[in-house]
């Protein structure tokens, strides 16, 4: 009996400890419950970088971290997944579209200088385009569909040529986003702009570039991701001698307050070494998450209550013990989630609730065995003992098979699916303990109380009801 008392104390201690853990350690909620965005970012190879290696992936991760810091999201999670993906979790983000735009752009900024010899060429192309465009209204009036379509196609082709010509006009100078020190949104008059500061090296390059521009009376081209944002000119009277010193510049272009802010965040975070694409976005509003929490609490308590009532009604005294063991199970499991830092997601909660229904399986097996032994005429104590003993092999087998399915889910599944596998597996392992050790200890304790040691509390209708084989 000493061993029993020790176990009883151990169980009591575990219950108290788990209540303390549940109260003290906060439960980590997944984004689907607390609200937020989860983005999967696919890193894409380019012509120069044909294969994404760990180096690129790390660089991308770093840039993304920088940009997220600018977004002001608390507790973001950024981790690489697989060989060429980055997973980003943004809890409580209130403008998911903006977050996605900020994270998604490559943001390769570079300053280029105009090549005067190419300008004439660009002019010709631009005039050709204008000519085509002016022709269009006249054609539309005439109503010749084929001619309109042909002209439209010609315009599109010409626009492409103009775009290419623009790139020809501006030559790379080596001054690019690498030399940026800071970026900020500014209001220039009533136009939104992004002000930037270069580091020392960048400031020198910028001074040389603007000096040359002032002397040759050419313009600068500010490009973002290979697209011309603006082409400012430099005042020769002021800057022909030194260029613009001090390392500050302002980028204008058709910015709104929002798009200027987005560029600011991207530039501050740095440019991405390779292009990326956001291939998955799962966003759940905070209120929806709270609704889910509420409904899963109701479902959990409802499920637990139904199982408890069923066990007590059907199995009587052992049922009460199983019910106590089940409550202990629920407490221990929930405490284990908090303690191990398991992030609870909606499927995870489903797994937990389901495991409540499955946790009593072991008790059902044991009690059915016990009843059989009682019917076979064994004493109460020996029936209970052999009920536990002989049901063990079935319990072990059935739990191992569930664990195998969980392992398959955990290793091969992604995201939410893993949460379910983890909670179900933890539940299965803990239920082995509560259903066998806890209920056995409690049962033996109950048997030591004289007034409860009655077979009819364990199995209804023993004397009259013949065994199953005799009726058919």
């Amino acid at each position: 009996m000493g061993r029993q008392r020790g176990l009883l104390l151990l169980i009591l201690a575990l219950v108290i400890a788990s209540i303390v853990v549940i109260v003290k350690v906060p439960t980590r909620l997944g984004l689907d419950l607390r609200g937020g965005s989860q983005l999967t970012i696919q890193v894409k190879p380019t012509e120069e970088i044909k294969k994404i290696t760990e180096r690129e992936l790390e660089a991308v991760q770093k840039v993304i971290e920088g940009r997220i810091n600018g977004l002001g999201v608390s507790e973001p999670v950024i981790q690489t997944a697989g060989e060429d993906q980055v997973l980003v979790q943004l809890p409580g983000v209130d403008n998911p579209q903006q977050a996605e735009r900020v994270l998604g752009g490559t943001a390769q900024l570079d300053f280029r200088s105009e090549n005067p010899t190419q300008i004439a060429f660009l002019r010709v192309r631009q005039e050709e385009l204008q000519e085509l465009q002016t022709k269009q209204p006249a054609l539309e009036k005439a109503g010749d569909q084929a001619a309109i379509a042909a002209n439209q196609a010609a315009i599109v082709a010409k626009e492409k040529q103009v775009e290419d010509a623009v790139k020809q006009v501006y030559e790379k100078t080596g001054l690019d986003g690498r030399y940026l020190k800071d970026a900020r949104t500014e209001l220039q008059g009533n136009v939104w702009a992004v002000g930037i500061s270069f580091d020392q090296k960048g400031a020198d390059l910028f001074a040389a570039l603007t000096k040359k521009a002032a002397q040759t009376n050419t313009r600068l081209g500010i490009f973002l991701d290979d697209k011309l944002l603006s082409s400012p000119s430099v005042d020769p009277a002021q800057f022909a001698q030194t260029g613009i010193t001090g390392g500050n510049a302002v980028i204008t272009g058709n910015f709104t307050a929002e798009s200027a802010r987005e560029l600011e965040l991207q530039l501050r975070g740095g440019s991405l070494p390779v292009p990326i694409q956001i291939v998955e976005n799962r966003t759940v509003g905070a209120t929806l998450g709270q609704d889910s929490i509420r409904s899963s609490i109701i479902a959990g308590i409802g499920g637990l209550t139904l199982v408890l009532v069923f066990m007590v009604v059907y199995y009587r005294l052992p049922g009460v013990i199983a019910a106590i063991a089940l409550v202990i199970y629920a407490l221990l499991t929930f405490a284990a989630f908090n303690l191990l830092g398991v992030t609870l997601t909606l499927p995870g909660i489903a797994g937990f609730i389901l495991s409540i229904g499955m946790a009593v399986d072991a008790n059902v097996l044991i009690f059915e065995r016990t009843r059989e032994e009682i019917k076979a005429g064994k004493t109460l104590y020996r029936s209970v003992e052999s009920g536990f003993f002989r049901a063990f092999s079935s319990i072990l087998d059935s739990n191992v098979t569930t664990l195998i399915a969980c392992a398959a889910l955990f290793w091969l599944g992604a995201g939410l699916v893993r949460g379910f596998a983890l909670t179900l597996a933890l539940g299965v392992v803990i239920s082995m303990f509560t259903a066998i050790t806890c209920s056995r200890t409690l049962m033996l304790y109950v048997l030591s109380i004289q007034s409860l040691r009655k077979p009819e509390l364990f199995c209804p209708n023993i004397p009259n009801k013949p065994s199953a084989e005799a009726t058919s």
Binding site: Q97, N281, L306, S393
Partner: protein, 326 residues
Amino acid sequence: MKLSVIRQRGLWWAISSALILAGLAAMAILWTQIHAPLRPSLDFVGGTRLQFELDCTKPNNCDRPIQTAAVRDVVDAQGLAGSTIQVLGQEQHAVTIRTTNLDVDQRSKLQSALESKIGTFDVKKTQIDTVGPTIGRQLFSSGLLSLIVAFAGIALYLTIRYQFDYAIFAIVALLHDVLITVGFFAILGLINGTEVDSLFIVALLTIVGFSVNDTVVIYDRVRETIALNPGRHIDDIVDDAVNQTLTRSINTTMTALLTLTALFLFGGETLKNFALALIVGFTMGAYSSIFVASTLLALWRERTGNAIAPVNATATEANVSKDPLG
């Protein structure tokens, strides 16, 4: 009461076959319509699903319910004809739109077009799911792979713990459960447009993990009874084993079904189909363990001339079943 599973096995098999055939027929019809046996959600084929709800804290914003036609006009004007639109909620203040895969700019455009036409949406009640086609394929193949791995793992475990023929029929029973569950959702997809998502694969795996339990428990009893009564005919042994474990099979499934019913009723939209899949699968799991796996084992032993187990083989099996606690 005693159930004679063996005598009426023709009936049990007929019921199973009818259920499986109905499911297969539904899958075939779906295949002719959408070239897939089940309606895949965007998890597997990629796409965008947006859920918006009107912000009722703003004055005059929630005056009237959302009209599907009005939403469709906006969606069509964005060049997204053929999208699925569904107005939700008792007051009809929420709407879900399922389209092809939209990038962030297309989505923002759609959202602002909708807001100007219908009213301001509450950002805290917005749900966005967008999955690229590659990710969809990735989710699908990893799901399928985990199913196969789980099957193989369970087969391996049962082969080690029992004999090979036990393992085979346990797997047959599992396939039966999974097939009927899949068939059930094919029928739902046909008549109700129900889609299957990654949670459905989770449900199938859970069914596999759970319903093998019943089979294992019955087989465990068969093995034990053979060991205790060498020389008895397999038909009798199976009948006895099934009946001795019947209450347990029913009660265990009962308790799991009780929690699942709670999940189905109160667990919210996301978990509804998940709970339903498990309810079907677990019920079928109990059915197949009691009526299919056991009778198939008996038939097999009969046909292969092992109806009455040789005495020395059973002695070793008995040891296996007795030692775990020691």
